[in-house]
């Protein structure tokens, strides 16, 4: 396989960076929301559930546009972030990460929520009778038992982050080196006659990355569940 050009390489590393940070940042709120949805009844639960799943149902372009309106430099959140935190996300790679996080969030929450619902709550009760306060029960019993679900959700969200196109290009546009992620690069090269080779190379890279992520998650999940299942 011929060498990647620097432009192509830039797209690959940018995509990995965007996907990595989007997943890392959405994990804590993802676990919290999944726990709320699995375990708590509160007014507005339906609304929260719908909100979390909205990016899954809306056309990605619409989600991207909403993000642009909210996080744009003159948007309510974007303006506040610029003025009080000095952070601008519009047309930056951080914006691409936000788009990826929002799009991957329902997948992450869904996987974790299902595995929280599968945890035997009687195990948590028995940890309580052994003297463990609720937070310790969560950290030492719930979280380890939910771990396979967290891995599954993380991989799904990471894959979504790598492949996210519509919301990203709408929100942060197509800026080489800043917001031109792998799928956007492929799309761009497709528009230019004679760049079929670049498209092919990037496609190969995407397949390899996805495959590696899948294998890694499989290995990790197997290590975690070893000895806990019926033998």
């Amino acid at each position: 396989m011929p060498e990647l050009t620097s432009v192509e390489w830039e797209a690959v590393t940018l995509s990995l960076k965007v996907a990595f940070w989007s997943v890392l940042a959405s994990l804590p709120p993802g676990i919290a929301v999944a726990w709320l949805l699995a375990r708590r009844d509160f007014p507005g639960k339906m609304l929260l559930n719908a909100l979390v799943h909205l990016p899954l149902i809306l056309p990605p372009v619409v989600t991207g546009y909403i993000l642009l309106v909210l996080f744009g430099t003159r948007g309510p959140i974007g303006a506040w972030m610029r003025e009080s935190l000095g952070i601008v996300v519009a047309f930056r790679w951080t914006g691409a990460a936000i788009a990826a996080a929002v799009m991957g969030f329902p997948l992450l929450v869904r996987a974790i929520r299902l595995s929280i619902e599968a945890v035997d709550r009687r195990l948590e009760a028995s940890a309580g009778t052994l003297g463990a306060p609720p937070l310790a029960v969560f950290a030492t019993v719930t979280l380890p038992l939910v771990f396979p679900g967290i891995i599954a959700g993380t991989i799904l969200a990471f894959a979504k982050g790598l492949g996210e196109f519509g919301a990203t290009i709408t929100f942060v546009s197509n800026i080489p080196g800043e917001t031109r992620t792998l799928p956007i690069a492929i799309y761009t090269f497709l528009q230019v006659p004679g760049e079929e080779q670049a498209v092919l190379r990037l496609t190969g890279i995407a397949i390899v990355i996805s495959f590696l992520a899948l294998v890694a998650s499989e290995l990790l999940a197997r290590r975690v569940t070893r000895g806990t299942g019926p033998t």
Binding site: D120, R122, L123, A125, S126, A127, G128, T129, L130, G131, A132, P133, P134, A136, T140, V141, P144, L145, G227, T228, G229, P230, T231
Partner: protein
């Protein structure tokens, strides 16, 4: 030691329980669905009473008047569940050690090694719960509940999920626990064999209410209570000592207040104290000493009371200070002229005793 006075409505069912528990093993005894598990769940803090008060040795765990309700993790109440509930992601060693992270060190009264020895867990320490047998799981669950040094231990039918062989395997461990670890144990059971073997005191639960409290021998011999638990299970407990074994016949001789009793071979050394349960329906009555009879146990006794409920009757006997119950027909009571005060012979077949009715007594 433990004082419970609770009220709780569960749908149409109402639990109203008030009782006190001292050292030793107290059985909460009653049919399935009588509310026994709900009562221990209230003691553990897993179920909130509508009203009431729960106190362990001057420490108030729950008091509805004072709006006090300690969460489970601050009660220091050990709980062995029917289904073990071991943590599947931890080894046996880490399951056992789990509660010690949270227990106050000053109050510790059990050592890890002592529990491992007491429950014979040495070979299991590095295994995962999924690879243990039912009996092994329960032993680990008992050890895990004890290691945080609880003030009281609750056991909710710890043998119910096991087959007969595993039950027999686990019973001696619970006996050792009762005799060697000096904390009150509340033991939920609907099995009279377990209660007769293990309990020092019995709280009889029926339909969410406490119908009787007393020493195990007292409650077992109170035939008036037994419609609540299944009448054919009425019987008496006799404290005995192993006098000797006869290898040729495969029999064991026991000395009891009632005289010598011959039972099937018991795997206990001479001098061991045993508690023998004699079911009322296994005791016959003769007005003269019978001759040419296959039953090996014929002991003199005096009738102290008769309760007739035709076609049956429950005759209460005093055999040298031991109470025996005999369940015969009211027809026999009339035709033999049985009346309180009369001297008679009580006849018990050796085959009426089995491994379930022979248990180690508290030394």
């Amino acid at each position: 030691m433990l004082d419970v006075d609770v009220d709780r409505r569960l749908g149409d069912f109402r639990i109203q329980a008030s009782f006190a528990v001292d050292e030793g093993l107290t059985a909460l005894f009653g049919r399935s669905g009588a509310g026994k598990t709900s009562i221990v769940n209230m003691i553990a803090g897993l179920l909130k009473p509508d009203r009431g008060r729960i106190v362990i040795a001057d420490r108030v765990l729950f008091d509805s008047d004072r709006r006090l309700d300690l969460p489970p993790h601050r009660r220091r109440v050990g709980y062995v569940f029917q289904d073990g509930r071991l943590f599947p992601h931890l080894t046996v060693r880490r399951n056992l050690a789990y509660g010690r992270w949270f227990a106050p060190r000053r109050a510790a009264y059990v050592e890890f090694d002592r529990i491992v020895e007491l429950l014979d867990l040495g070979r299991l320490l590095d295994r995962r719960p999924a690879t243990l047998s039912g009996g092994e799981k329960q032993r680990v669950a008992i050890g895990r509940a004890l290691l945080p040094s609880p003030r009281i231990l609750l056991m909710d039918e710890p043998l119910a999920a096991l087959d007969e062989g595993r039950k027999q395997e686990l019973l001696p461990f619970i006996e050792r626990l009762r005799d060697e670890i000096r904390i009150p144990i509340v033991y939920v059971s609907h099995s009279i064999a377990e209660v007769a073997r293990l309990a020092t005191a019995v709280v009889l639960v029926s339909d969410g209410r406490i119908e009787g409290i007393g020493s195990t021998a007292d409650i077992m011999s109170r035939s008036d209570l037994f419609p609540l638990t299944g009448r054919f299970e009425a019987g008496a407990l006799v404290e005995c000592t192993v006098a000797g074994h006869d290898a040729a016949t495969g029999l064991t001789r026991l000395t009891s207040p009632a005289g010598e009793l011959v039972v099937p071979y018991v795997r206990s050394e001479t001098g061991t104290r045993l508690r023998v349960r004699v079911r009322a329906r296994d005791v016959m009555i003769a007005t003269e000493r019978p001759a040419g009879i296959s039953a090996l146990n014929v002991v003199p006794a005096r009738i102290t009371g008769i309760r007739t409920d035709p076609p049956f009757a429950e005759v209460r006997l005093d055999a040298g200070g031991a109470v025996l119950l005999s369940r015969i027909t009211s027809f026999s009571v009339d035709s033999l002229g049985l009346v309180p005060g009369r001297e008679v012979w009580a006849i018990i077949k050796t085959t009426a005793f089995d491994h379930r009715s022979l248990g180690l007594a508290k030394p």
